[in-house]
């Protein structure tokens, strides 16, 4: 697995909170740093793709494991 600089646990949170928390965390990070996000909202898979496309924060990885979703975003 790719390494990461910061982690955000958005487990149990529903739309749009995982995205909003991720945005908030990213804004405190430096460009190029990697944020790992854990979520349980199945809708977050599409939402993080869309978030990445619209904000220029690259989605490096999107994975699912037993109802948990994991995303790696590189701050743009």
């Amino acid at each position: 697995m790719t390494g990461f600089d910061q982690e955000l646990d958005a487990s149990g949170l529903n739309c749009p909170l995982p995205i909003l928390r991720a945005k908030k965390t990213l804004s405190s990070m430096e460009s190029g740093k990697i944020l790992r996000i854990i979520a349980t909202d199945p809708g977050s898979v599409k939402d993080f793709e869309a978030f990445s496309k619209q904000t220029g924060n690259e989605l490096l990885e999107s994975a699912e494991d037993g109802g948990k979703y994991m995303f790696l975003l590189r701050k743009g």
Partner: protein, 159 residues
């Protein structure tokens, strides 16, 4: 990339219909949109410092109720005193259990993200609201104020 703009008119003051404007405004801000919400008529309830939003099953056959009540419970029963408060409390509990943000939380996120909130002056006067009842930082304006921003928006929604 020039900043996109989202303009929303919020006209409803119930717990359920409070969600779309605040969810969309907060998310749009996170995506880099410049966002304004114009609150008019019952939507003004969403600007109150102390929110007391309710949801009503009355006149809303599409609202799922616990125990399949929406199928068998007589409509007139939903008009009984206290029913609205009971249903609202149940809805709040369900939302909390499902990890859905509270309206207060979403509204705070909107404020934090500099979403511009405008109260419709005409309806503020119509319902005798006073600015002290509303949260700080909002502006007051009319239809022309709305169009100044909405006319240049990329997305314009009426809720």
């Amino acid at each position: 990339m020039t900043e996109k703009k989202l303009a929303i008119i919020a006209t409803k003051g119930t717990l359920d219909w409070a969600y779309p404007p605040f969810i969309l405004a907060s998310t749009a801000s996170a995506l880099g949109y410049d966002t304004q919400v114009f609150f008019t008529f019952y939507g003004l309830q969403l600007l109150r410092k102390k929110l007391n939003l309710k949801v009503s099953p009355l006149g809303n056959p599409g609202m799922p109720m616990p125990l399949g009540m929406d199928k068998w419970f007589p409509v007139i029963g939903t008009a009984l005193p206290g029913m609205e408060s009971v249903m609202s409390a149940m809805m709040r509990k369900k939302m909390k259990a499902k990890g859905v943000a509270t309206i207060e939380e979403l509204r705070d996120l909107c404020i934090e993200a500099d979403v511009k909130m405008i109260a419709c002056q005409m309806t503020v006067d119509l319902f005798d609201f006073t600015p002290s009842e509303f949260i700080d930082g909002i502006e007051y304006g009319g239809a022309a104020t709305f169009f100044e921003f909405a006319g240049e928006s990329d997305i314009c929604l009426y809720v």
